[in-house]
């Protein structure tokens, strides 16, 4: 899967969870950029990404997620 496809799918998930159609993701997007991105929604995001991409994150994957770029990298590792 190309990075662009991953971004497109993730954008959909983000817009859905945060109920905000104006969200545009970049590798540098962090929780500070999205007001409702709290710890509960952070877990919700990872579970939604697991379902959408048919993957399962491990403990170390979850620890390395500092921004959207990290999330995309983790997804890429898993679907390879």
């Amino acid at each position: 899967m190309h990075e662009a496809e991953i971004y497109a799918k993730l954008t959909e998930i983000f817009r859905d969870i945060f109920d905000d159609d104006s969200i545009i993701l970049s590798a540098n997007t962090t929780a500070l950029d999205i007001p409702r991105w709290d710890s509960v929604n952070h877990i919700n995001l990872t579970v939604a990404a697991e379902n959408a991409f048919g993957i399962e994150f491990g403990s170390s994957d979850l620890e390395e997620l500092r921004n959207v770029g990290d999330l995309v990298a983790a997804i890429k590792r898993k679907i390879r």
Binding site: D19, V40, I43, N44, V47, A48
Partner: protein, 625 residues
């Protein structure tokens, strides 16, 4: 993830959700969205809309305190949406992380200010049994006894301080086996300890009037990996995964709603392709598929056995079918494989009218509300039309295969029940008799003569400990003949029973056809001016239309005279369901005093001069002495 298979899957859900007006959505629109098959993300989104909407649009919220040993924020949307699904609203309080003991024990805690009506203990396996293997079986046993006793002392404080409904979640079986099949040989293994602690919790909860939320039971259906993700536990101390949170809320709300008398009471069954395969009108007695010989026929049989067993534990059965009545009844009378018999069916309607009309008739015939009906029909057209016409009626989706009918009804949890009494176990028969009686009403032109021939005995008793369970159950589920609709816990009822100034009594009706069991409750409180104010008066609708209310009043007047009360004060608090008793006090000869608050009415009767006609009844008191 655990799925809501009985709810319809609405492909238009995202569009309907998006079209909700910002700010002030209508309550029914939100409730309809909660009654679709939605996943945890949709649940979170819908919850956000619910929380943003003004509280005035919904009913009065119920205050729920969620006391937990771990992270529970992910559970809140599922709880609130499960409440919304039932037309209820929750106000949830979560004490600081890990502070559940302090919250209960400290009278200055924020929990005290919150005044919870429901307290749910959500304890994870590690907090409950620990994660170490205790090699000595005796040490394991005393460890568990110590842990469960500590928890039950918290329950007691919760019950005493708040008079709330207390719910204990059973422990999720998350631990790996040490032995395998012979795990029971190491009683101190964490996995074995979770199993035994759940048994202990159930027994203790029963003895302490605490309800249980049986997560372990649902895990048997879904598998533990649908409920608990070890990665998320280590990452965020979530015992229940977000994906399972909507089901967690659903299971919890069943217990909360059941305590408030909001479980369904009647299973209404279609016939063709629901109780048997094929159409009895077209295929005839020999042509329908039922029973031995085919897997499909066995499936219908299995469903009939389930319906029969539900009836035996107190669920009312009814039939609603598009058929000629004679054809429909013939299957019940003559088909050798039928498990259900006409005597199991409290209301039997087979005709060609639309089903919404017939469901209204069934509710009227049985004297129960439409929201007490669960309508099971294999035909999606009929299901949808009933959903549209009668949004109160519960209409589960039904799978194609009859082998899966019973598990679908069971999963849907419509008939959640917290207690079982001997009354429940004989209710099916009692409704059957009521139905025969009401039919008799139509045929007999002389109703008075009929009632006189019934040899009715109204037997009453003061509130006592033996009956508290049944009385509390009746108080909390009676909606129609209920003058004030005040709900009480068993502990509160015990306090009333022990208060010498209060008058608390209950009534049983027996006639020549049936023992109707406990059918009414009266609670009066003495006011400072020497009058007796009726705090509660309620009666089961099974015994309407026989003058039981007048006979009940005669007991009340007699007691007021003996107590020396200067007046009997009646109060009517209107609800959406109790319109049938709006004029009760007026009909019974009370004088109107005034309107209080919005629309409560106050009535008075002088016990010294009241004359009450109680022909048709013999009345007697039973004392414990």
């Amino acid at each position: 993830m655990p799925r809501f298979t009985w709810l319809p899957n609405d492909p238009d859900w995202p569009r309907t959700f998006a079209s909700l007006p910002e700010g002030e959505p209508r309550w029914p629109a939100l409730q309809a969205l909660a009654n679709s098959q939605i996943d945890f993300l949709a649940t979170v989104k819908l919850d956000r809309r619910l929380c943003e909407s003004p509280t005035e649009i919904g009913p009065e919220p119920i205050r729920l305190a969620l006391l937990s040993s771990c992270t529970v924020d992910q559970l809140l949307p599922g709880l609130r949406i499960a409440a919304l699904r039932r037309g209820m609203r929750l106000d949830i309080h979560v004490p600081d992380y890990g502070q559940y003991r302090q919250a209960i024990l400290d009278p200055q805690s924020s929990l005290t200010l919150f005044r919870p009506q429901v307290i749910l203990f959500s304890i994870d396996a590690r907090a409950m049994v620990g994660n170490r293997f205790i090699t000595e079986p005796d040490a394991a046993e005393s460890h568990l006894t110590c842990r469960t006793n500590e928890l039950s002392s918290l329950w007691r404080v919760a019950l005493d301080r708040f008079g709330a409904q207390v719910i204990q979640q059973t422990i999720l079986p998350i631990f790996s086996n040490l032995m395998g099949a012979a795990e029971y040989r190491v009683p101190g293994s964490p996995a074995a300890m979770v199993d035994s602690v759940n048994d202990k919790l159930r027994a203790l909860a029963f003895a302490s009037h605490v309800d249980t939320l049986a997560l372990d039971q649902r895990v048997r259906r879904d598998g533990i990996s649908s409920w608990h993700n070890p990665v998320l536990w280590n990452h965020a101390k979530q015992d229940v995964s977000p994906a399972a949170a909507p089901m967690y809320g659903e299971l919890a709300l069943r217990v909360i709603a059941a305590r408030r008398g909001r479980s369904a009471k009647c299973l209404v069954l279609d016939l063709d392709n629901t109780l048997w395969g094929g159409a009895i009108g077209d295929d005839g007695l020999e042509g329908i598929v039922l029973g031995q010989g085919t897997a499909r026929g066995e499936g219908f049989l299995q469903f009939q056995h389930y319906a029969k067993a539900l009836a035996q534990r107190g669920v009312i059965l009814a039939v609603c079918s598009k058929n000629d009545e004679a054809n429909a009844r013939e299957a019940f009378e003559k088909h050798p494989e039928m498990v259900l018999r006409e005597s199991d069916i409290a209301a039997f309607i087979a005709n060609w009218d639309d089903k919404a009309t017939n469901l209204r008739r069934i509710a009227a015939e049985l004297n129960i509300g439409l929201e007490s009906l669960v309508f099971v029909d294999d035909n999606p057209f009929e299901r949808n039309i009933v959903r549209r016409e009668l949004c109160e009626v519960k209409v589960p989706e039904l799978p194609e295969d009859p082998s899966l009918f019973d598990v679908t009804i069971s999963d849907a949890g419509y008939f959640e029940a917290l207690e079982i009494t001997s009354e429940d176990l004989s209710r099916g028969t009692s409704y059957q008799v009521s139905r025969t009686l009401r039919r008799g009403d139509v045929a007999t032109s002389d109703l008075e003569g009929y009632l006189a021939d019934l040899e009715m005995q109204l037997i009453w008793k003061r509130l006592d400990h033996n009956s508290l369970k049944r009385i509390t159950q009746l108080i909390n589920k009676t909606n129609q003949f209920n003058l004030t609709t005040r709900r009480y816990t068993e502990a509160e009822m015990a306090a009333i029973a022990e208060n010498p100034d209060a008058l608390g009594l209950y009534l049983r009706l027996v006639d020549r056809h049936a023992d109707h069991g406990i059918i009414g409750v009266l609670i009066g409180q003495r006011r400072s001016d020497g009058a007796l104010e009726m705090d509660s008066w309620l009666m089961s609708c099974r015994v309407l239309g026989r003058g039981v209310e007048r006979a009940t009043l005669s007991i009340l007047v007699d007691q007021a005279r003996r107590r020396g009360d200067c007046a009997i004060i009646g109060r009517y608090r209107p609800t959406p369901k109790n319109g049938m008793v709006r004029d009760l006090y007026s009909r019974l000869g009370f004088n109107f005093v005034r309107v209080e608050g919005e629309e409560e009415t106050i009535w008075t009767l002088d016990p010294a001069t009241a004359v009450i006609d109680v022909s048709n009844f013999s009345i007697k008191e039973i004392t414990n002495a």
